[in-house]
């Protein structure tokens, strides 16, 4: 491990040295126009004593729960008001272009509610297991805390993520085109432990988790999945779940569409057939061009997006060394490789994967390159450990048409213009 890391660092240094050289030669060649690499007057931020260099700041009692710097006011969830009729049955988006690494901070995880945020005191929350079980049971949160628990990092993606882009480029920013995904370290109990406690009967083939909110959210889940890797969780990224993420109890269904991860989980029924409830008939079914519709399309396919540069994060530094980065994920397992192109798919280079690689989790990739200042067409193409390759928009539209709404995992194109401004486009 150590040797690997050293090697990477060495490589990085060598790359930096090379590109550093390139920058100084190009700057030398043409000083006009672009910001100069040398300063003509001393920087007052260095030569003058700043307020924060002199006066005392807040003490340890000022911020019992710390918040981001006031200079990070742009890193917030945003919604698209015209998408839905009411903010209580609606969605907002994670600012992917403001984030690094693979963990999504709790306050920035996108929200999707169907009846607003239920505010529940843990002492007033119950989890019931009923249906085809030997002993129907009721658990308090104290009971849940006594099951063996574990920590797992998983992405959650709404099946409608990128759904607005089926007909063509619509929204300018990866926050809006891809921001219905987040990646969180959960702490919780294997659903299997809880089901075993009640004893699932041999005829029990399906699960119906139900939420305690005003929408009483329900979804049918095959029991194999429930016994495989589903979790009933109480914590996200080390702290208790946020109310908007289902406090005090949520279901985690790794790799499968976010709607199934029932929040404010209060009941799981065991049955012998699926229920075909609203969120698996009217919604979360994928209409095809011939008028038929796929149902129970649970897995989230392999996908990636470049988060910087992107329309909300244009290139402001001019030509020279440029860091391109993005995220990739697959509901089937790990990401094996991400290819990046800067010329709209004419030539591809394999990106450098950040080493933190977990199954059904976001992966971070980087591609450092020397931008010569000409226009760019950026795309990324993810490949998972099972050889699933992220498709092009054309490939998806050919087999599905444009009215599926859900499961659009196609390759995204950003157009970087010569002034660094970046736009969501489709290309030939």
């Amino acid at each position: 491990m150590k040797i690997d890391k050293g090697d990477i660092e060495k490589q990085e240094r060598r790359k930096l040295l090379k590109t550093g050289l390139a920058v100084s030669t190009t700057v030398g060649a043409s000083l006009a126009g672009v910001k100069s690499a040398t300063a003509s007057t001393p920087d007052p931020l260095i030569t003058e004593i700043q307020d924060w260099n002199r006066y005392l700041g807040d003490g340890v009692d000022a911020r019992p729960y710390g918040m981001p710097s006031k200079h990070e006011a742009e890193a917030v969830r945003r919604d698209v008001a015209w998408l839905t009729a009411d903010p209580k049955a609606s969605v907002n988006f994670t600012p992917l272009h403001k984030l690094e690494g693979i963990i999504t901070p709790n306050g920035l995880c996108f929200e999707r509610h169907h009846g607003g945020i239920a505010e529940i005191a843990p002492s007033e929350h119950r989890l019931m297991i009923n249906g085809l079980v030997d002993t129907p049971l009721v658990f308090t949160m104290e009971d849940i805390a006594r099951f063996p628990r574990e920590n797992r990092l998983y992405f959650l993606e709404c099946a409608a993520n990128t759904g607005m882009e089926w007909r063509g480029a619509q929204l300018n920013g990866c926050q809006f085109t891809h921001g219905m995904v987040h990646n969180v370290m959960y702490t919780g109990v294997k659903l299997k432990h809880i089901l075993d406690e009640a004893g699932v009967k041999a005829s029990g083939k399906w699960l119906l988790p139900e939420g305690a909110d005003a929408s009483h959210m329900t979804r049918s889940i095959p029991i194999e999945k429930g016994l495989d890797d589903c979790l009933v969780v109480t914590h996200m990224n080390g702290e208790a779940l946020r109310p908007e993420q289902g406090y005090p109890l949520r279901l985690v269904v790794p790799g499968w569409e976010g709607n199934m991860w029932v929040k404010w989980l209060r009941r799981i029924e065991v049955g012998d057939k699926p229920w075909h409830h609203r969120e698996e008939t009217s919604k979360y079914t994928d209409l095809l061009e011939d008028g038929t519709a796929r149902r129970f399309t649970w897995e989230m396919d392999v996908k990636s997006v470049i988060t910087n540069p992107s329309p909300q994060a244009p290139i402001n530094h001019g030509r020279g060394h440029t860091v391109l980065t993005g995220i990739a994920w697959s509901g089937h397992g790990r990401i094996k490789r991400v290819d990046v192109t800067v010329d709209g798919g004419r030539n591809w280079t394999t990106a450098r994967m950040d080493p933190h690689s977990f199954s059904k989790s976001l992966h971070r990739f980087y591609y450092d390159f020397d931008w010569d200042g000409s226009e760019l067409f950026l795309q990324s193409r993810a490949i998972d450990e099972f050889g699933n390759v992220q498709p092009t928009k054309k490939q998806l539209r050919e087999v599905r048409g444009v009215n599926s709404i859900y499961h659009n995992n196609s390759i995204q194109t950003w157009h970087v213009k010569q002034d660094g401004v970046t736009e969501n486009v489709e290309i030939s």
Binding site: G131, T135, L137, D143, P148, W275, E426, I427
Partner: protein
């Protein structure tokens, strides 16, 4: 250490002083949950289907200058009425008979005490949405120290069931209270019935304000009827009649989630009646149709056969292997923009 002690004592004295207020607040807030589907209060409140209700008490009718009230409300406003405890209570008891023709399609709050609690809650907000009672917030923050006598660990009972011996057996009443789900084969349907005519009355009073008089949807609220034979159109219209595979989903969903903001308020017969009416709006039954637990399974929705299993794995592009992926010179000509998001720029403002 000493700081926490002080808070503990402060909390107790605050609790004595403000416990009534805090309780009215909590219960009023919970009861206001029925209104929240259409109304907001507080500093960031915006008009929704109904106007913001900040500082509405002791004001003339129509507090919101920038909200589009119905003609009926305008007329009532012109007559010089204002919101006193009495008028508000009468209004909330039966809004649609108090002001016939109002857009506030809400059946009302039957219980007078509940109405008073809602009114007390409304009084907490001034016209800017600022809370009049910061005290109750403080009591919430400073939890009193509860000293309970602790039982010995050996005095706790350990259940018989299971592996870890956790939880307790669920009672039948508890299961019945929560287990209301209905399946396409009729499993879970409660006994009962309702006809489309009764359903129409309930629908006009409790659903039409959002879903339109004929299920056509108002604004961006969901469409419930119509759209037959549009699934292969450029813009399909997915409704109960044109898209939904099973009628049981209508019964189950309306019973668990509608009306929006007042879930679980309809009786089982009401839901039968409304479901019958929704079938009528979708041209599936006649006006005098009665739906019951007996004839429910006879109804087949027209689009049922068009749902297929997930067969994404058969999609052609999936057979491409990694080795076949082109890495260099993958096209002869340079990329050209065919469409930009800026053309139909719908991106929300920063």
């Amino acid at each position: 250490m000493s700081k926490y002690l002080k808070y503990g004592m402060l909390a107790i004295s605050l609790l004595i002083g403000f416990s009534n207020n805090a309780m009215a607040d909590d219960e009023g807030k919970a009861l206001f949950g029925q209104c929240r589907g259409c109304h907001a209060v507080g500093a960031d409140a915006k008009h929704q289907f109904g106007p913001v209700l900040n500082g509405v008490m002791d004001q003339a009718f129509m507090i919101a200058g920038d909200y589009d009230y119905s003609a009926a409300f305008n007329k009532a406003g012109e007559s010089g009425l204002s919101w006193t405890d009495e008028t508000m209570s009468d209004f909330l008891a039966a809004p649609m008979s108090y002001i016939p023709g109002t857009k506030m399609a809400f059946p009302g709050v039957q219980n007078e005490e509940d109405r008073n609690k809602i009114i007390a809650y409304l009084r907490l907000f001034d016209t800017d949405g600022k809370r009049q009672d910061t005290a109750s917030d403080e009591t919430a923050a400073l939890t009193p120290v509860v000293t309970e006598e602790r039982k010995l660990a050996s005095d706790f009972a350990v259940p018989e069931h299971g592996v870890f011996k956790l939880g307790r057996v669920a009672l039948t009443e508890e299961i019945n209270a929560w287990d209301i789900d209905v399946r396409p084969d009729g499993t879970g349907l409660p006994p009962g019935s309702g006809d489309a005519i009764t359903g129409g009355e309930l629908y006009d009073a409790q659903c039409a304000s959002c879903h339109g008089d004929f299920g056509e949807g108002t604004g961006r609220w969901p469409i419930l009827a119509g759209g037959h034979d549009t699934l292969t159109d450029d813009r399909p219209e997915k409704t109960i009649g044109s898209y939904w595979p099973y009628l049981s989903t209508v019964y189950d969903y309306v019973r668990r989630a509608m009306p929006f903001g007042n879930a679980r308020s309809l009786s089982d017969d009401d839901v039968y009646a409304i479901t019958a009416y929704l079938l009528y709006l979708n041209d599936e039954v006649d006006e005098d149709f009665e739906l019951s637990s007996e004839n429910f399974s006879d109804i087949v929705l027209p689009n049922e056969a068009n749902f297929i299993a997930d067969n994404r794995n058969n999609e052609g592009f999936r057979s491409i292997s990694i080795d076949e992926l082109c890495m260099t010179n993958c096209a002869d000509d340079a990329a050209v923009v065919t469409q930009r998001a800026n053309v139909l720029d719908v991106t929300p403002d920063e």
